[in-house]
């Protein structure tokens, strides 16, 4: 195993920044091509008119998930070296609720608002200003709910441990679930998408 390249010291911090820009360009390019620079397209997700967000996200998750599993299997990628988001159920669920509200009201998530601004969307710029303001408020009020932000800590918990299944089986279940969702999405789009004039 020799990847992740960065963790095996193929290059240093400074080069990693150059890599960051290149990966970021690909990321931003893809988001824009998917139509994520358009708030209406994103928000119509929540009215079953345009299920692009769901389709893109789950396809991406599946591709990256299968890719990492395969590369790990053939001995190229050391999965234990990939950063795993630690689980803090309390703040993550509360944050999820808040972000769902913010998503429908604001029309973007932070990443897509950057792409929207880059293509000249005024509401994208205003959304970013709002997000920066919200983060400032979070930082300023942080001491008030500091204890809550570490509640429900489960360490580097993975779905595999939670369900007691092997990664392959979990991946298979996720793919099944996604296929079901894609199928449902196509039906919903046919039903509600037609209203769009």
């Amino acid at each position: 195993m020799f990847t992740p390249l960065y963790k095996f010291d193929f290059f240093g911090v400074e080069i990693s920044f150059v890599v960051a820009v290149i990966i970021g360009i690909m990321f931003g390019f893809t988001l824009e091509r998917a139509g994520f620079g358009d708030a209406k397209k994103l928000a119509h997700q929540f009215y079953f008119r345009d299920m692009t967000v769901l389709k893109v996200m789950f396809t991406a998750i599946i591709v990256a998930m299968i890719g990492t599993l395969l590369l790990n299997l053939v001995g190229i990628l050391d999965m234990s070296l990939i950063y795993l988001n630690p689980t803090y159920l309390g703040p993550q669920i509360a944050g999820g609720v808040i972000m769902g509200i913010g998503f429908v009201i604001g029309g973007y998530c932070p990443g897509t608002s950057l792409v929207a601004s880059a293509t000249g969307k005024v509401d994208g710029f205003i959304y970013i200003a709002g997000a920066l303001f919200g983060m400032l408020i979070f930082g300023e009020t942080f001491p008030l709910f500091q204890d809550f932000t570490v509640s429900g800590f489960m360490g580097n918990a993975k779905l595999t441990d939670l369900l007691g299944l092997t990664p392959g089986v979990v991946a298979f279940l996720i793919i099944l679930m996604a296929l079901g969702m894609f199928w449902g999405a196509e039906i919903l789009e046919k039903k509600f998408g037609a209203e769009e004039s």
Binding site: I23, G28, G35, T119, L132, G134, F138, L159
Partner: protein, 172 residues
């Protein structure tokens, strides 16, 4: 609207490419993608410029910029610079670069701006509480099968669908 829409990639193609980008990030860097972390660092940078003492006294800001640390010297910050460039290039090449405000038929642009600011503010707060946004938690955490990220993702979409009814005038 109709003709520009055709130029978007099919969602499955876009998702496949996005998955490859994410996979490349795992293989090259050993970490996922993100966006809100870079925004937080920008906020911290501004606060640090105005009042370094304030940053050192606040445990949250200090994590990013305590002492001599430069909050902008970070992988995510450079990645976000790339995201902006990538979005710009794609928009230019597809003829979609245009100054305008996206809004539904029943709301004025000014009304949309107010919603955008409010929604952005809520999202910014929530993203810091949830330790990441759609890119950092749902996408990157989802692909690495992190339990908390999946919980976050499910709750976020559920919450969005519940609230959607109340702000429908903005969009449809």
């Amino acid at each position: 609207m109709q003709d520009t829409k055709e130029k978007y990639w099919s969602p499955y193609v876009a998702g496949f490419v996005l998955g490859l980008v994410l996979l490349a990030t795992f293989v090259v860097m050993g970490r996922g993608l993100g966006a809100s972390g870079a925004m937080m660092r920008t906020v911290t940078y501004v606060v640090d410029t105005v009042s370094p003492e304030h940053v050192d006294n606040n445990s949250y800001f200090a994590k990013y910029a305590g002492g001599d640390k430069n909050p902008l010297s970070n992988w995510l910050v450079f990645e976000v610079v790339g995201v902006i460039l990538g979005g710009l290039l794609s928009g230019l090449m597809a003829g979609r670069f245009k100054w305008k405000t996206e809004h539904g038929p029943r709301i004025t642009p000014k009304g949309r701006w107010a919603y955008a600011f409010l929604g952005g503010g809520i999202m910014g707060f929530g993203a810091r509480l949830a330790l990441g946004c759609t890119s950092g938690q749902a996408l990157s955490g989802g692909a690495t099968l992190a339990t908390g990220s999946w919980a976050f993702m499910m709750v976020m979409f559920a919450s969005g669908y519940v609230v959607a009814y109340f702000v429908r005038k903005q969009w449809i």
